[in-house]
């Protein structure tokens, strides 16, 4: 068993993960925080670190945050799990799902 502390967190909301950051690429410039019309994100209290997702279920999923980010790969939006569509490759008949 790990020694990790167990916290008393309430249930989170759904979807819980509209946006993720790659801390290796993101430099915490907060451009995305200021372009988000919904104010889903807040700046990280530690300067230079990726923003935090504070109000995930308010996300409108237009991807303006990702669209404005100058560092490709720093931020990615993720459609809610129940809203991921499928496609089929015509010649092979294989099925796929939008997975990100």
């Amino acid at each position: 068993m790990s020694e990790e502390k167990i916290y008393a967190f309430p249930n989170g909301c759904t979807p819980g993960n509209p946006v993720t950051f790659d801390p290796e690429i993101c430099n915490g410039c907060n451009l995305c925080v200021d372009a988000c019309q919904v104010d889903v994100l807040i700046p990280n209290p530690v300067k230079g670190k990726p923003p935090l997702v504070l109000f995930p279920e308010e996300c409108w999923y237009a991807g303006c945050c990702e669209g404005i980010c100058p560092r490709p790969g720093a931020i990615q939006i993720h459609l809610p799990l129940p809203q991921r569509v499928r496609w089929k490759r015509k010649d092979t008949g294989e099925h796929f799902r939008v997975s990100r």
């Binding site: 502390k5 991807g63 990702e66 459609l79 015509k90």
Partner: protein, 646 residues
């Protein structure tokens, strides 16, 4: 790192912005524009071009906010030198489609000025032509001007544009012209002369959504570009943002504050069943939706069998190009398929029946693979790449996941209960303002409301819709507001009214800490589903009013607010409660059922009796509801009225 991970590592986080509850800032403007969406930005630009001091107040981030902030792929209804279709004919299409329930006044202004507006969009940096010659030789391209057209390749009144460039360009132009932009400020109330209901509008109040600071705006003219009501019948506490077709920020703040001040509204009784606003379906525009972006995509069934397209007379269309040509004898095609005269081709109308009989097998797919290459690229590229809400989450995202429009079939959720426009819908899950034409503010030919000095544009207007319309009416309202401001003096602000507004804004901070705003919103929707849903009668509507009052008096004071953001969200729900009351009052005033308004009164079942084919205008006069009627065609004659007033 998400919030939970961060808290585990570092402990609870303090609110990241300075908190300034109660601190006041007073700002003066010749023209105050509320809402920095499409109409608001255009209004600000056209007023600033006249050399006036313009202040723009936006709840989100002007650079991207509003329904048109992330994109626009079709710029509709635009007469221009390359077509002989006139503004009168375009409004004629809209009148036919809505059986007369159309804001012909604003639609006509928009049609007359849309082309100029589009060209100005280009000057500001918006991309409206195929400058890179990506579609050279395509039947929807004009080789001389490099304009690209949609839906009707012959009469060419609907432009295909790269609208993801528009909002950024508008924002830049506002800044260049010296418009003072206040982002993250929620407009909370209107200030009127002497603080009186129904009097001239002389300013507004606002709340900073990050700091909680209070704003007092003093203005010579005010423009409302705040869009309209949402979340009145349906609210998903979970997939919340994505359950709204229009952005999360749009809830009807503008309607509620205008109502409190005494502005006149119409068509608020309209509502239609919807499935997507419940949050139980797919994101609008994320799949093979045939409404506009995907037109004229080939559709196939699970076995690859093609589903035929037919024209307005039921004639099967054999080629892709035929789907974009008017039927024999047809003057031009509208963007929607309603009405006969300007009906666009669509998939065979008895498709559902044929699926049931086994002729076609579910699921269906959008099949771009066999389409002419330019059609494939213009749909999966320009249209899906530029349409609002689809650039990142669909175009970029699916491409990255490996979707290849030349090889792959995109599953369509039509008929699987997931399509936002059809699907399985509970009749009480309704939409008022989310999609299409909705109830809103009534104006004269200056786009001025019944409150002097208070103008409106875009989706805030009744029976309004579309990007071209928001742009052109915003530009027009800004011009008219500037002309008005130039000949009008500032009026003193009534301090008692400011104090009342302040109290309203901050009262939630004193609330008992028991509920959160989402529960209140869900309860407001349940009341509408129960008492103002598919079926209405006097008794149900009375119960709706009683229940909404109860919620306001007993439950609203229990909603907790722990930071300025949640204060903003709570005030939004208070405004939703006001919009719901407006809807109920409007429903009480229409004592007849109406098909086009989606309005069924069990106690007045006759559908659209001629004496009720009229606008019913409502306003709140110091708490009592005043109504008056206008004939549906009160705007007549269009051309003369426009030319006299423009």
């Amino acid at each position: 790192m998400n919030w939970r991970q961060y808290v585990k590592k570092y402990g609870l986080i303090e609110w990241p912005y300075p908190v300034r509850y109660g601190e006041e800032r007073e700002i003066e403007a010749d023209v105050l524009v509320l809402g920095g969406g499409i109409a608001g930005c255009w209004a600000a630009i056209s007023a600033a071009r006249k050399g006036l001091k313009v202040v723009l107040v936006e709840k989100g981030a002007t650079v991207k906010s509003g329904s048109g902030g992330s994109g626009c792929d079709h710029w509709l209804n635009t007469p221009h030198p390359g077509t002989d279709v006139t503004a009168e004919e375009i409004v004629g299409w809209e009148l036919e489609m809505t059986e007369g329930y159309c804001n012909a006044l604003s639609r006509y202004i928009a049609a007359r000025e849309s082309y100029e507006t589009l060209l100005e969009m280009e000057q500001m940096g918006g991309v409206i032509r195929d400058l890179k010659d990506e579609f050279k030789g395509a039947p929807f391209r004009d080789e001389k001007t490099k304009f690209l057209f949609a839906y009707d390749y012959k009469s060419r009144i609907h432009f295909r544009v790269r609208g993801s460039t528009f909002k950024v360009a508008l924002h830049k132009e506002c800044k260049r012209l010296g418009v003072k932009i206040l982002d993250r400020v929620m407009a909370t109330g209107l200030l009127t002369e002497g603080g009186r209901n129904g009097a001239r509008v002389v300013g507004a109040t606002g709340l900073h959504c990050r700091t909680g600071e209070f704003f007092i705006f003093k203005a010579r003219a005010v423009v409302n570009g705040l869009s309209r009501h949402q979340r009145n019948w349906c609210f998903s506490t979970e997939i919340r943002g994505n359950a709204n077709f229009r952005p999360t920020q749009i809830v009807g703040d503008g309607h509620a504050m205008s109502w409190r001040a005494g502005a006149e509204f119409t068509m608020m009784e309209k509502s239609l069943p919807t499935s997507f606003a419940s949050g139980n379906v797919f994101q609008p525009y994320s799949h093979g939706n045939g409404i506009n972006t995907w037109v004229p995509c080939t559709m196939v069934d699970a076995n690859g069998k093609e589903i035929p397209w037919v024209d307005r007379d039921g004639r099967i269309l054999k080629t892709v190009e035929e789907r974009c040509m008017p039927a024999p004898g047809q003057r031009f095609m509208g963007e929607r398929t309603q009405g006969y005269t300007h009906k666009r081709p669509e998939l065979i109308p008895d498709l559902e029946e044929r699926i049931r009989k086994g002729e076609y097998t579910l699921p269906l797919y959008a099949d771009l693979t066999g389409m002419p290459e330019h059609e494939r690229r213009v749909i999966w590229g320009l249209m899906v790449g530029e349409e609002g809400k689809t650039r990142v989450p669909v175009y970029i995202y699916y491409n990255e996941a490996g979707f290849d429009p030349a090889r792959d079939l995109l599953q369509s959720y039509m008929f699987l209960g997931g399509d936002p426009m059809r699907g399985s819908v509970r009749p009480q899950d309704r939409t008022g303002g989310e999609i299409g034409d909705a109830g809103g503010l009534v104006t004269d030919w200056n786009l001025m409301t019944n409150l002097e000095g208070y103008f409106a544009a875009g989706d805030a207007l009744f029976a309004a819709n579309y990007h071209y319309h928001a742009a052109a009416t915003g530009r027009y309202a800004g011009r008219k507001a500037a002309e008005y401001a130039e000949k009008t003096k500032f009026s003193p602000i009534d301090r008692k009214q400011v104090a009342r507004e302040r109290r309203w804004v901050y009262r939630p901070l004193e609330n008992r800490d028991e509920l959160e705003w989402k529960e209140l919103n869900a309860a407001a929707c349940r009341i509408m589903q129960n008492y103002c849903g598919e079926y209405k009668n006097e008794e149900l509507l009375k119960l709706a009013l009683i229940s909404l009052r109860e919620l306001q008096e007993q439950d609203a004071p229990r909603v907790c607010v722990d930071n300025p953001h949640k204060l903003m969200r709570t005030l939004e729900v208070y405004n939703i409660l006001t919009c719901n009351e407006m809807i109920v009052h409007a429903s009480m005033a229409r004592k007849a059922s109406s098909q086009i308004l989606g309005f069924t009164r069990l106690d007045y079942p006759e559908l659209d009796p001629p004496e009720w084919k009229k606008w019913i205008l409502l306003r709140n006069e110091e708490g009592s509801i005043k109504t008056r009627d206008l004939p549906l065609d009160f705007w007549k004659p269009l051309k003369e009225n426009y030319e006299k007033n423009r």
